[in-house]
């Protein structure tokens, strides 16, 4: 096994996910330790065009696979493509985004090459000849630092928005088209279509700003005031489980232990008490603002800024004041 690192660049809707650049940043941390090179694999429709986004980051070789058999996602197909390249390049480390695709594909591919995988990591280091990954456990109540024991390819999925994007180096990597090497007819489970989320806002897991509402929103129509603020900031709308269970918001917006784990730069919690299961989903947000009429609400223990007040008074003014300065 070499000290080379393979970054998996995920394509959705013909576009490279921005986490790919963060993965290259992580790969550089490992490369500094192993002395290895960074390569990438991009699979799916539009892979070749999108490869340019990684070429300027100092990635050595970018393998692109855009073939009939990979037009739609399948864990079996994509994992075969990835595992084949891992064997061929004898990669020591494989980095993927901790996304729906990265998690599903990574865990299947790691089984194919009998490696080891660390899921949902938030930080990478390198010590004593091996990569050390930090990852949350017990729904984010603790962290562990974990290291491979050696001799096997190490797969690491990294949460979006955790590492900074790699800076451009200007060096152009070499883009090589590859065949998928898989038989479409042999794939047993394959994606047929994607029903996009209503609203057209970014997904909470990828948003830089999230405006979240809780039980205090009282009604689905009241989420409009959160949507206005979110749209102004190009952000997403989130919700507590109480708000989802009461039918005020859709399940994909739920933040927390049984919802999504988010990591925006700014999280504004409106009328959310701050139950432990909600905190599990948003405690790593860089800046947390709480708006709650109860000054004893636990959310204030985790927030960086707080306003005690009625959200129906505060939020519209907040939107207006921010509009003035943007």
């Amino acid at each position: 096994m070499t000290g080379d690192i393979l970054v998996f660049g995920e394509i959705r809707n013909g576009e490279l996910k921005k986490v790919a650049r963060e993965l290259v940043y992580g790969a550089r941390t490992i490369a500094a330790g192993t002395g290895g090179s960074i390569d990438a694999l991009i699979v799916g429709t539009g892979a070749e065009t999108e490869a340019a986004k990684l070429a300027s980051l100092g990635v050595r070789n970018i393998a692109v696979v855009d073939d009939e058999a990979t037009a739609n996602y399948s864990s079996e197909g994509y994992a075969t493509v990835l595992a084949d390249l891992v064997r061929e390049g004898d990669y020591g480390y494989i980095l993927l985004g901790a996304t729906a695709m990265g998690r599903d594909l990574g865990a299947r591919a790691v089984a194919k090459v009998d490696g080891v995988m660390f899921s949902d990591c938030v930080e990478l280091g390198f010590e004593d000849g091996a990569c050390i990954a930090r990852r949350p456990v017990y729904s984010g109540k603790l962290y562990v630092e974990i290291a491979p024991t050696g001799g096997r390819p190490v797969f690491i999925t990294i949460r979006p928005n955790n590492l900074p994007p790699a800076e451009e180096t200007g060096d152009g990597g070499e883009v090589t088209a590859r065949g998928a090497g898989i038989d479409l007819a042999a794939i047993r489970a394959i994606a047929t279509e994607i029903a996009p989320l209503a609203g057209g806002r970014p997904d909470v897991t990828e948003a830089d700003v999230i405006i979240s509402g809780g039980r205090a929103m009282k009604d689905a129509s009241n989420f409009k005031i959160l949507e206005d603020l979110a749209d102004l900031l190009g952000g997403a709308v989130g919700a507590s489980r109480a708000a989802v269970d009461a039918g005020f918001a859709e399940q994909p917006l739920q933040v927390g232990q049984t919802g999504k784990v988010v990591n925006p730069k700014l999280y504004i919690a409106c009328g959310i008490s701050g139950a432990i299961q909600h905190l599990a989903g948003m405690r790593t947000s860089k800046v947390i603002v709480a708006i709650n009429k109860d000054s004893n609400a636990p959310i204030f223990e985790k927030a960086h800024y707080g306003i005690v007040g009625n959200l129906f008074d505060v939020v519209p003014v907040l939107t207006e004041e921010i509009r003035k300065i943007l």
């Binding site: 864990s75 990828e206 730069k265 505060v314 907040l318």
Partner: protein
């Protein structure tokens, strides 16, 4: 139709989790253990499929965990599962996903099945890997993070919706398949009193590693936890106050712009 449901016993989501004195894991004293949240959706989906297909359909729970996991298994049986395999071996503590999947593959290899339902992740190690590794070992397809599951009328195929960023991805799969379940798939039922009574008589086949033909723990030796770390202490919350709401909000906006630099 033969359905297998994977069930893991984990600390309750409300539990306070503290690092033990030795710094080698968590303190288990005073922690309540329950069925992994997402495995409840798996149990419910298994029961729904059994009810839908009828005939000699059967739901078998497979759980790997300490003797105490019997309680969680009984709960699943009380919800309506038919029987269970409990892999309990004193030598197993904190097995990694490869160890779990290897042992499961062996245990399941002895059973007949059409669908395996499990949770999208275990809320202790939060790996979300076991089902994918297991699928590869059993050479069957997998679908992760399901929020809708529709069996074809001839019960040979299924259409599954899985949650992805910004939407839902529809997957067509043949059976047998392993499906990991998310919140939203269904509403798990509670165990009824008659269910609890019946559960007492249902069979739990207890197996050790030796019973499954392993002379040592398989699939291990891949990683090492170097350190357990508590969460960093949160800073003080800066309460923004003013006589009038608009003044407080203006101050908040100033802080977010000039101090936090997030807008």
């Amino acid at each position: 139709m033969k359905i297998i449901v994977l069930l893991k016993r984990v600390p309750d989501s409300e539990a306070k989790i503290l690092i033990n004195k030795e710094g080698t894991g968590i303190r288990e004293d005073g922690v309540k253990f329950v069925i992994n949240t997402y495995d409840e959706y798996a149990i419910e989906e298994g029961l729904l499929m059994k009810e839908k297909v009828g005939g000699d359909s059967k739901v078998t729970v497979v759980c790997m965990g300490p003797d105490e996991a019997t309680e969680a298994i009984r709960t699943a049986l009380a919800m309506g599962a038919d029987d269970a395999v409990h892999i309990a071996d004193d030598s197993l503590s904190n097995p990694g996903p490869f160890t779990t999947a290897t042992i499961m593959a062996k245990a399941i290899g002895d059973e007949e099945f059409d669908i395996i339902f499990c949770g999208k992740q275990a809320i202790d190690d939060d790996m979300a890997q076991v089902h994918c590794i297991l699928a590869e070992m059993l050479d069957i397809p997998q679908v992760s993070v399901a929020i809708a599951f529709e069996l074809s009328d001839d019960t040979t195929k299924a259409t599954v919706s899985r949650r992805i960023e910004g939407g839902d991805e529809k997957i067509d799969t043949s059976l047998p398949v392993i499906v990991s379940c998310d919140k939203g798939l269904n509403d798990p039922r509670y165990a009824s009193l008659p269910g609890i009574m019946k559960a007492k008589k249902k069979e739990i086949r207890k197996k050790s590693l030796a019973d499954l033909g392993f002379s040592e723990i398989p699939g291990g030796g891949r990683s090492r936890i170097l350190k357990w770390l508590p969460l960093p202490k949160g800073g003080e919350c800066r309460m923004v106050e003013a006589e009038e709401t608009p003044d407080a909000v203006r101050e908040l906006v100033r802080l977010l712009r000039e101090e936090a630099k997030v807008i």
